[in-house]
Subunit: 215 residues, 3 copies
């Protein structure tokens, strides 16, 4: 639909990030499915949904149809792989104190920077590219949580959407300043993860509307 | 993708309605977020979701990608503005007895007529244009309610989807009869709001399947 | 957008399947709405959502916009018809021990094969065509369940997504082997329904991650 020229390096970088994010989010989806005692196929469905819905939404919105996750089998492959890993070694995965949260944090970092990169490649303006990066990051997790009837982490967890936005904004700013994409991608991803780390471990958070009150 | 010729007047009218609807729905989303004690960024996310998902869905369905809410920063701007207003003056907003319901009713009226206008401009048949107007009106509120785990207002509230459909149908009928768009837009929006007003204040409602029974 | 040559037979087959699936899923949506005591219009909204969201999602993903359910009034027609039937004769429909489940099973069979057929016509690779068939089957029911705040049947019910995938895979395999579409469509649909039948009636199910444990 839209003719986009992507250099080989950009393409490899983008695909790696996208697949990496898909894998860890798929893990988080599969773990949530196991927690809610879904059967083997329910685990696969939730793994695929968590791993791919953010990217699919982004692709539909920027007009990149069919979305990469539908067009290339690799996305399905890593999602199913993640599902199998959780299915057979869930004792290992769930030994982490809150595995959904940690895998989610890594996936958020991958997707935030990948989403911003792809939106820039499709010519969106910088502000919207950063927001689409954020959306790519939060979309899959939102659906994962809704499907098992929980208020999405993004709406309750501290510094969640903001962490994704910060990571995406670094990528967008780097692009405007003509910095190497690989450098800004790494910095953006690390900043996003660190913000979530500080929120989960050390309770960093944003004020809520009633925070000035005496509650 | 689709080449659409829109007169300047139509364009201004459509944009005004769309942004107006976005603003009041964003208010309703932000108020729902405050009610559920989400943090500052959760408020922004819910404001944006409530204010823009109906229009984004409509645009994706009629092939108008990237959707206006992604392509123009003004939609983001009014959503964030609505979020800030609720964040800083929520005492003022929540003094209304049921603020989500009232802002929702105004947003429904704006979006129902705007959605129908835009669908007509993109050449949809009249019946579907009216239904897309309705969908634009109910989409954002549905996601807002789902995200905080409530059965969507549209499915429970009296005369909700019907009010949106009535407003949209007036716009579509006016178009078929070559009436001035501004006139039918105002009439359609007022009718939609009044139907909701009568439902909220005076309990107007449709029968349910068991209403003839003795319950 | 995409120029697709479809023979008349293919077109009639596809439309019949799509409308058939829409009808039975719409029945399941309307019954769920009645169960949750929604009003007449809520019934129509849930009937339309259950009957059409799977197909609309498929069409958006393969770039067939505007989706058939938006472009042709017949989809709206059968959805509204299903809503009226349930509204006026719900005593009849709800006499079945679990009507949502049974209508859902039939709709799943229709949509799984129709979705796979359409994805093949639009040139998707066989694996993704089978998965899109599955998605078409599960999409409408997922939204129906979410809208009334239940964990989607697809995630909890036994052999649900797998039944849809089996039906879709038969259609795709038949296409690769140049078998008559009508034959594989019937076989695929019947296999999908039978798998669900065995799951509902005789408790066939897949293992869950903890099934080997002593719980």
């Amino acid at each position: 639909m839209v003719s986009v020229n992507i250099s080989v390096v950009d393409h490899v970088l983008l695909t790696t990030l996208d697949l990496g994010g898909t894998f860890v989010f798929a893990i988080s989806g599969a773990v949530a499915a196991v927690k809610h005692r879904l059967d083997a196929f329910g685990i696969m469905v939730l793994a695929f949904a968590a791993g791919n819905v953010g990217g699919i939404t982004r692709d539909v919105l920027i007009g990149a149809t069919p979305p990469a996750a539908i067009d290339h089998l690799s996305y399905l492959g890593v999602s199913v792989l993640a599902g199998f890993i959780v299915f057979f070694w869930d004792a290992l995965v769930t030994r982490l104190s809150n595995p959904v949260l940690w895998f989610d944090a890594v996936g958020l970092a991958f997707f935030a920077v990948a989403g911003a990169q792809k939106a820039l490649l499709f010519g969106l303006n910088p502000v919207m590219a950063a927001l689409l990066g954020m959306l790519t990051g939060i979309g899959g997790g939102m659906l994962r949580d809704l499907l098992v009837l929980q208020i999405p982490t993004v709406l309750r967890a501290d510094l969640y959407a903001l962490a994704a936005l910060a990571g995406a904004a670094i990528v967008v700013a780097g692009d405007a300043l003509h910095v190497q994409p690989i450098a800004t991608t790494i910095v953006g991803g690390v900043v996003c993860f660190l913000l979530r780390y500080m929120a989960i471990r050390h309770g960093w958070h944003l004020p809520s509307a009633h925070s000035s009150g005496g509650e």
